[in-house]
Symmetry: C2
Subunit: 391 residues, 2 copies
């Protein structure tokens, strides 16, 4: 086995945001040497890695030359130059997730087609090359209103996703390749994180339940375990395992799913990395998702995925109307609540709906945790000294 | 309240070893700006702090000038220049633990006298100015053999402590101020960590039970909760609170105690900072000791100190006969065991009995955790490629 610990081994991470930052807690814990590439000098990962480089994650040469310096390369964001990863793989660098998996996942059209090909349940959809074709599809009734529009590339945190209720909503959409997906009348949005190592060891985290902010389309609460029937939970885990197996994925794969009114499970989308829906694991799980991702990509044994206690995660996003140097209003107040841990990502500037941090609430009693989570949400606010003046 | 999070506030830490390194996980989590001073450029804290300085922790000017740069100053090692801290306090820098507390604690003679003055139960002792006086004390029967010899200054991890069984053992001792302490026939060595904030909020962690390595005099297992009677646990916590109150201590105070054959509690010694006996808390407690120390010195609300699950900690010390580039033999094997997390401090070179890391074992069942802990201890070894050749 490679000696990863306090050795010359080098792990590369593409992307230096909050997911990378939380990964670095684990590489520090194991004393694994890390190289991080991110376009921003002020990226949350700048501290705590061994080598930090600024550079464009979508530039072939930048990613290729960065990758040549490390032994194993992983990501904390999908939006990277995949051709460079492909070439690195050919030249013997270990890349997880693989270039081909990433190629499929980061394009929402290809991702959906992959599910169809692999008989993975997912909402019906039609792919369009551009906006004109989409408009035509609506006119000739191939697409029924309302539907969910998704740009195939570059979507993240609700960007590149819109609910289209009437033909005239199309005007505001970007002119890009897209899919029109049937709107699912769902009971719950669920997620399962699957960890898989190169030698094929597989573990799944418990099913979590998500609540989205109605306007920002960002997750507001993640609740673990999901308060659903055992049979539905088993089905969700089986589907998640099917997805991981189909991709032959290595590392973490977060599988987001809908539970329909008929208790069917439909895969919405996946993320091939630690995910917002797994942040609760830092405080609640035997092995948190960031440690698990590191274990998986290094082909170390996977850790236990069970929970010690119930966990709820609240995202901390910038309050509407505020822009500038961030202030976490009433943070001391939430720290006095039982089992509450704030995580501050280290972005100095807030703006409306920007992901600035998250708060985990753990408790032996999930109902109690849910109550405290709501108190947390009603108490803390991510603001700035001056209210933004609207023009 | 001061805005600590993603702000210009600066926390200084004297010492850059493993305790500081684990504190930095928490300052990163909260995005608190940190300055660290340590004599070694390769200190485990070099990464993950905002500013790292090399310098002598015992040098007045070095500590003073470092302290002037920060808003709140704390320590991860007691062996620092206390006069500089005293002057910094006079000049308005917040220093926790305070210079006067540190002055008393870091000298084992003064620490024992403090317990006497404050009616805190402790083993009987006599202080001697040097080795000749000690020898005289033995000759004229003021000191009864066997006894425990402790150098009043500079002792750490078993250094500066010896069990003296006969008069001739005295020859090998350092010629220094020392105490001769009555040997206690104890059932258990216990510890309680007390957290106390400037506004006087106080919380105690559960009583832990320690097992020492018979030769190296270093802790081998720390078991939480201690498997002792409730009445004894209550007494231990009461004594620990008495000690914290007497010192008016701010931050963490680890109180090490003996449980005698008669179930009396005697204070052995204290450490005014996160402590080896609290490492289990990272995985087992609602609030780990490092986060708690940060909360306390910043006068933030203290977190819950209860455990989610039982925790056992095994120290990883360099194996006898090995010196050089460290290898963690069979580390992957222990990572496949249930609820096992290794912590690697990041020291590149091993030597016999050097503290290189620790392993935490958590489990809902303490007996199961104890079994796994023994497997861990029998499996992992801290070695180097070549066995040291003895001359």
């Amino acid at each position: 086995m490679t000696n990863y610990f306090s050795s010359n081994f080098k792990l590369g991470i593409l992307g230096g945001g909050q997911l990378g930052k939380m990964m670095l807690y684990e590489t520090r814990k194991y004393d694994i040497t890390t190289y991080v590439l991110d376009p921003s000098f002020d990226a949350p990962c700048r501290l705590a890695c061994n080598h930090f480089e600024t550079g464009d994650l979508l530039d072939f040469d930048t990613v290729y030359h960065f990758g040549k310096k490390v032994d194993v390369l992983t990501i904390e964001i999908e939006n990277v130059n995949v051709d460079a990863l492909d070439k690195l793989e050919q030249e013997g660098i270990t890349v997880y997730p693989s270039a081909s998996t990433l190629q499929t996942i980061r394009n929402k059209g290809k991702q959906k087609e992959f599910y169809q090909q692999n008989k993975i349940p997912t909402a019906p959809f039609i792919k369009f090359a551009n906006k004109a074709h989409l408009a035509e599809g609506i006119t000739n009734n191939r697409v029924k209103l309302p539907f969910v529009w998704k740009s195939t590339e570059g979507g993240y945190d609700g960007k590149g996703v819109s609910v289209i209720k009437s033909g005239k909503d199309v005007a505001q959409l970007a002119d890009t390749e897209c899919i029109a997906e049937e709107m699912i009348d769902f009971k719950n949005e669920l997620a399962v994180i699957v960890a898989r190592s190169p030698k094929g060891e597989v573990k799944t985290y418990p099913v979590v339940e998500m609540e989205f902010h109605p306007e920002a389309n960002q997750v507001e609460y993640v609740i673990c375990p999901a308060r659903i029937d055992d049979q539905v939970a088993k089905k969700a885990i089986a589907v998640a395992l099917q997805v991981s197996e189909a991709y032959q994925h290595v590392g973490l794969l977060a599988v987001e799913m809908f539970q329909t009114q008929d208790d069917e499970i439909l895969v919405n989308e996946v993320a091939p990395r630690p995910h917002n829906s797994g942040h609760y694991s830092i405080e609640a799980s035997y092995t948190n998702q960031f440690e698990q991702h590191i274990r998986a990509v290094l082909d170390l044994p996977l850790g236990a995925t069970e929970s010690k206690v119930a966990g709820i995660m609240v995202n901390l996003v910038g309050a509407e109307g505020y822009e500038g140097d961030v202030i976490y209003q009433n943070i001391a107040q939430i720290m006095s609540m039982d089992g509450v841990t704030p995580h501050i990502y280290g972005k100095k500037q807030t703006r409306p709906f920007r992901k600035m941090g998250h708060v985990t609430i753990v408790n032996k009693d999930i109902a109690e945790a849910r109550k405290i989570a709501e108190e947390v949400k009603n108490t803390i606010a991510v603001v700035s000294e001056k209210k933004r003046i609207k023009i």
